[in-house]
Subunit: 430 residues, 2 copies
Amino acid sequence: MMRTRPLKVALLGCGVVGSEVTRIMTTHADDLAARIGAPVELAGIAVRRPDKVREGVPAHLVTTDATALVKRGDIDVVIEVIGGIEPARTLITTAFEHGASVVSANKALVAADGAALHAAAEANGADLYYEAAVAGAIPLVRPLRESLAGDKVNRVLGIVNGTTNFILDKMDSTGAGYSEALDEATALGYAEADPTADVEGFDAAAKAAILAGIAFHTRVTIDDVHREGLTEVTAADIASAKRMGCTVKLLAICERAADGASVTARVHPAMIPLTHPLASVREAYNAVFVEAEAAGQLMFYGPGAGGAPTASAVLGDLVAVCRNKLAGATGPGESAYTRLPVSPMGAVVTRYHISLDVADKPGVLAQVATIFAEHGVSIDTVRQSGKDGEASLVIVTHRAADAALSSTVGALRELDTVRGVASIMRVEGE
Amino acid sequence: MMRTRPLKVALLGCGVVGSEVTRIMTTHADDLAARIGAPVELAGIAVRRPDKVREGVPAHLVTTDATALVKRGDIDVVIEVIGGIEPARTLITTAFEHGASVVSANKALVAADGAALHAAAEANGADLYYEAAVAGAIPLVRPLRESLAGDKVNRVLGIVNGTTNFILDKMDSTGAGYSEALDEATALGYAEADPTADVEGFDAAAKAAILAGIAFHTRVTIDDVHREGLTEVTAADIASAKRMGCTVKLLAICERAADGASVTARVHPAMIPLTHPLASVREAYNAVFVEAEAAGQLMFYGPGAGGAPTASAVLGDLVAVCRNKLAGATGPGESAYTRLPVSPMGAVVTRYHISLDVADKPGVLAQVATIFAEHGVSIDTVRQSGKDGEASLVIVTHRAADAALSSTVGALRELDTVRGVASIMRVEGE
């Protein structure tokens, strides 16, 4: 039985994602209607530059007044694909106040202010869905919020930024340096003109915050996420990883502490063994491991960005939100009941791979080993090599608190016999 | 705001999965309550053998009268983990009639009679959820039903039976024959005493039917699924696959025809390239590729069976169904509006790898090639080898209709110079 009065959708933003949303809503209107149980129609599209030619976008729907659009009162669902904090936040809040539910692809906003947005949705009996905010088309938010709602997630570990994965994949496969690989990513459209959000890890950190909050049923914002980008990863680091049977990936890692009393969330480059499934994630693909108590280890893989994949996630949410509207219900809202605090990076237990340039004379290794022992860090392997009075030590530690590892490195730098710390990288996925 | 009157759950079956469900509902009661918004309690557990000792299962809840349990009238949700067609079907239908929603892990029943069960659920305003019926803990039903509800799925291809993957993985890694690998699977508990459902592909075919129906929004039953088991896969087939840079997997493949007017669903052993992500799925793990128009290629990976993983999927559904109950709504029901017919195997477009034992004399290849040409099947590669008057031809075809490939093989068998068809296997995943 199909309702004939259509559900009305306002689209905020008509760039790469918005125009795909428009295209699919137009070409697949019958399928969407059948799956929702009522027709759904685009009632307005807010853009910044109205005179830009947008193929397939009905000109009479285009407006520059986004605020008036969300205030119309007859809008059932607002799709926000503008990105950034403002005006997106104000528009979403206004939409809730005017009775609309919201589907957003905005990782930055949800990661900065998700709790307030969820509260605004709940106060107005509306839905806030944002599958597209994390890893594009890959279903992750819904599986964590719903499929694993009866399980206990202990760890989320993944590649959630396609740009940086493309860069690291190029460095690994061609031996190129960071700048060269970034140039190629930019030329091919994988990196933006200003790549800061990607290469400094802000994008991945926002996704880590969202995943951690949902996975552990607590509140995590982007400010809680330890963040290191990949701008300092060198061709030498990649080569060194290869010698260890590893590759380097920019990982987002969310973990429940061993005692269960806190969680951590972090983004940084790390070495992972070539045998780990994440090692074979190529180009701009994303992949996320989820470890849960009962389910065991799950992996989700797919395109993490792009107009069509992101639109797929947006429209999946649109169907769900429309169904909820018709049923007079709302889907799962924020679940932050565990109130687990987020511990700082120092509390994370991990392993370090450290390359030191040292003086080539007897006793250096003993000195270095003493520093590790004094900081309670146990050494797994040491590889020593020397030529012409210079020598290098490559040390891989056992698992220890990041704070202990970090202060070990600090103390090593103080040694006269240590001429420099050539690289430090964490080792994960073992 | 938490409701204090608990939702009541009846559990039908308390084997490997049921006892895990009981354990998690007991030990994680607070988490479930927080996520649902109301406490949830086990009100009864129906078993066949009441005197069997079940650790952690409250004895006062155990009954042998499943019918009376589902008829009690105060049950909100019935969890069915008995398996098989009857009495499961009658109990589920009775549960709907008495106001309960149902969570089931029963692939055989859903694949045989899903439409009628969905109709019964809808007639009674109840939910029917069965994430656990396909690939254990791996979220697949929900992503297909909900996450991809705004997209157009064209293909589902995966390893959905852990037992057969374990057997094929052993054959591949050790060179063992089928019987030897089956024995090891049985000894390690990966295969049941009667392995028919797994090794003849019935289990995978049930899952293929469920996945195809959901993916293409049409009705597909297990009888629509072309099914070949792996009992005839030989060590020689595996060795032959290796020479081609392939491995052999038992695949479930659901496809929309190129013209969009029909779908196909099939389960059979197939060669896939070692570079394909499914090739590296080891032991009893499952993995499923989903190809959708907008989303592109997604993969879902994880443990496909086992008590705890299956319980994870059951409990995820339980949380969803309970939330729906509290909201006075139901989740997505059957979606079969496309009414796409299921075409027979002959209509599937695929490639064959064929090994022929032939007479070692001039003109044989010409004869064989003529047969292929007469049936409109184009040959990709031929490898000819001979010794002592005997020769073999290994032929890999281009893509053609399975019916044409099949009649080509029939005609080859008629040739005097073809002494035997040593093996035929489809080639997929390219």
